[in-house]
């Protein structure tokens, strides 16, 4: 049976080629980058080269690595907050990692924090933004990882207030043009099929802070995979955009009681959130998995935390019966057709089992 992972907004499967790069990097860069002999200097050089590659791909001056996205965010916030004690601002639909980082950093650095409301599409509410008239540090996503919404242009606000923007571009990088209003950018190479372990902070100007980051093989692989992804992205955007439009249209036509977020012209091209009335999300997810389709879910019953998606809750969306779709860049058309058919059949079956088919 073919298997299709359609939960690629946050991380993509590591393909064979990237797996080989990782194995090669593990052999070439086995030594700690701090070791004061030849092999250590090789690791140091490979680490620096990969950071420079990623900085250049993102249009920044320098980049550095952190072991995971939360630590990358923490490093970025510390980088800004050590220079200027500005209030930390984020939004209701940012990731749990962002919300937690802002909360912890505000306490650690002794600055105030504020979580801004959003409109029904999940963009920072214009009124909330307009009320911020003093310089702040904004930490928010370029594109929402669950519903695909692209953030409004924060450029004019940033310029008029003299604020600093840490832009979380983890699931947007490559899928959309980067705006120019950021000071620091957060990237996670897992989103383009590199292994976990080397999240990235890119700074538009200045120098990288001192770091004891030591997972050189992951960092090297992240840079190589990043180059490959940026080259492939223009085509991937077109293909995924068309596939998402097909999935969106067909599910709306073929199922009753669905609410879909994402797939609008201004959204990220590869993300869709589908909420279906009167089904147990976990049952649908499990049945799709058995048919070879891996999808995420923002429903409480399908989550380890037992909590529904805070993103769907913030925009007033239906949190039950939710499926999260993040397309990979190389999905065939037959997989799209097979997936739509599987969703329609599985939802119908689950509704019949639950006795909700006539609601």
């Amino acid at each position: 049976m073919s298997r299709f992972v359609l939960d690629c907004a946050v991380c993509r499967p590591v393909n064979e080629e990237i797996g080989r790069w990782l194995a090669t990097s593990a052999q070439r860069a086995w030594a700690p980058a701090v070791a004061g002999y030849h092999e250590g200097k090789v690791s140091q050089a490979l680490l620096a080269q990969s950071a420079a590659t990623l900085a250049q791909l993102a249009g920044g001056a320098v980049a550095w690595f952190a072991p995971d996205p939360a630590l990358a965010l923490r490093s970025a916030v510390a980088h800004i907050t050590q220079r200027a004690s500005l209030p930390l601002i984020t939004s209701l639909v940012d990731t749990v990692a962002v919300l937690d980082t802002v909360h912890e950093a505000a306490a650690r650095h002794g600055v105030s924090e504020q979580v801004l409301g959003v409109d029904s599409d999940g963009r920072i509410h214009p009124d909330a933004l307009a009320r911020l008239t003093q310089p702040v540090t904004m930490v928010t996503a370029l594109g929402n990882q669950e519903i695909g919404t692209l953030q409004q242009d924060l450029g004019p606000w940033k310029t008029s207030t003299g604020s600093t923007v840490i832009l979380d571009a983890r699931c947007a990088f490559g899928w959309t043009e980067l705006p120019d209003y950021w000071d620091l950018l957060i990237l996670d190479p897992r989103a383009w099929g590199a292994p976990a372990g080397a999240s990235v902070v890119v700074a538009r100007t200045g120098q990288a802070p001192r770091s004891d980051f030591d997972n050189v093989p992951a960092a090297v692989t992240a840079g190589l995979a990043g180059q490959r992804w940026v080259a492939a992205a223009p085509r991937a955007k077109e293909v995924a955009g068309s596939q998402i439009a097909t999935i969106r249209r067909r599910l709306q036509d073929e199922l009753s009681g669905v609410q879909i977020h994402g797939g609008e012209p201004d959204d990220l091209p590869h993300i869709l959130s589908v909420s279906v009335l009167y089904v147990d999300a976990e049952a649908v997810q499990t049945a799709l998995d058995a048919r070879g389709y891996a999808v995420g879910s923002g429903s409480a019953c399908a989550s380890r935390s037992g909590q529904p998606s805070h993103v769907l809750a913030a925009i007033g969306g239906l949190t039950s019966g939710n499926l999260r779709i993040g397309l990979p860049p190389d999905l065939g058309e037959e997989a799209v057709a097979g997936f739509v058919k599987a969703v329609v059949e599985v939802v119908t079956e689950v509704r019949e089992q639950m006795g909700t088919q006539n609601l």
Partner: protein, 85 residues
């Protein structure tokens, strides 16, 4: 789950049920009820605070009241469309 109906009010006790079942119970009651009925849903699953309003928007029902009680929420829903729509 028990239901009791008065003249124009249907009470749906979905306490103890978790998502998606409170919304299913509400939808079943809405299907059975006379047009214009007031549906009173009692639920203690916090997910209902998001999903009942979302269901009302999807089904063009009107959410008239949400009351936080000590151990549950009380939602009052009218299945008639608001005037002018």
């Amino acid at each position: 789950m028990s239901q009791s109906s008065e003249a124009e009010e249907v009470v749906i006790d979905a306490r103890g049920l978790v998502c998606p079942h409170p919304v299913i119970a509400l939808a079943q009651a809405a299907n059975r009820a006379e047009p214009g009925s007031r549906l009173v849903l009692l639920a203690d699953d916090p997910v209902a605070t998001t999903d009942v309003p979302a269901w009302c928007r999807m089904r063009e029902a009107q959410l008239l009241e949400v009351d936080r009680r000590p151990d549950h929420w009380r939602f009052v829903v009218s299945t008639t469309r608001p005037e002018g729509r």
